[in-house]
Symmetry: C2
Subunit: 208 residues, 2 copies
């Protein structure tokens, strides 16, 4: 059965990595099949939603049997383009940048930080997770040389827009922003926010 | 008009902090009213979705005029319980934990990190953002003493479940997890994941 090609919303795309992580855990535990009911229960997502999300891309499950875990992992990786290596540039070599770099190296994912930048002269030349911190004005060259496709903004809020602008000018079209600031980017650039304050604020709702 | 009391999904709650941050920026710029169309355009969210999300809690806008910015800020803060101080416990004093603590202190939000823990003896007594790192077995006592309501897990993945279990036993009912691991918690505990790998994976979809 052929995958459908209609537009898929950000919200659906955002859930695919959650499914993937869960399926990879099942796989490590030797689980071979999983139903949308079981997935829904473990992930606290409506099973009908899970079936609908996956159906955007093809028919991966069998009624009454469920999904084959290794097969679904391979399919989601393919959808998310994780079947190839995507180099990432990180700007900001503070505690957050270092944590992200170390974490990324440990995980050895297809998405690997290929260059790290900072504007602070005292940080230049510092070694972080096998990379050397470079001045931020090297970003455009490195993007071209290393085929960098994604940028991570890990600088203080007042500097974030400038870094995003430089990334866009360098040809990056996907940005993950950790700075607590709303950034303006052209329509063809995808931006995602990872904002601890927002995460905590959403949790506060559930505090009694 | 009275606020509706029906069940509101996690997805709606998650968008409220995004609206809030945006409105606070408008407020700083002196903007007094905003339409759902303008909000939708700036935030890349369907305006009908924004109107529907806010309508769960009451009628805050006026047709043809839009929302009053300071009023909507106050209302969203009230919905999210940000009109009072909520103490947070952080477990894990590595680079990520330090970045989170510094960031939190700078922001001076109602959600403030009130205690920081680690199991590594070499980190105990270390000063992080005006707090002193304490052994993790002090967590239950500190939760009681300081009225801590939210826990942040910033430890490596293999330790995350143990930390979450301890938080739950201590009475915490809302957890923000940074470890790349799916955690099992009782039904009455709300957990949110902040997983860089998942964020990057969702962005990879948009890379051409």
């Amino acid at each position: 059965m052929q995958a459908k090609t209609r537009h898929v919303s950000n919200t659906v795309i955002r859930r695919l990595p959650i499914y993937l992580r869960y399926l990879q855990e099942l796989n490590r535990l030797g689980v071979e099949t999983v139903s949308s009911q079981e997935m829904g229960r473990d992930l606290d997502i409506n099973p009908a939603q899970i079936r609908k999300d996956l159906a955007y891309f093809g028919e991966f499950g069998r009624k009454g049997i469920g999904y084959n875990v290794p097969y679904l992992i391979a399919k989601i990786c393919q959808i998310l383009k994780l079947d190839r290596s995507i180099p990432v540039a990180l700007v900001g070599a503070g505690h957050l940048g270092i944590a992200l770099s170390n974490y990324n190296r440990l995980r050895q994912e297809q998405l690997s930080i290929a260059a790290i930048f900072d504007k602070d002269p005292s940080k230049l030349g510092m070694k972080v997770a096998d990379l050397v911190v470079e001045p931020v004005d090297r970003l455009p060259d490195r993007v071209k040389e290393r085929g960098i496709r994604i940028g991570i903004v890990a600088v203080p809020a007042p500097e974030a827009q400038g870094v995003a602008d430089l990334m866009v000018r360098s040809g990056i079209r996907a940005i993950l922003n950790f700075a607590p600031a709303t950034l303006r980017v052209p329509d063809d650039v995808h931006i995602r926010y990872s904002d601890v304050t927002s995460e905590l604020q959403a949790l506060a709702y559930y505090v009694d």
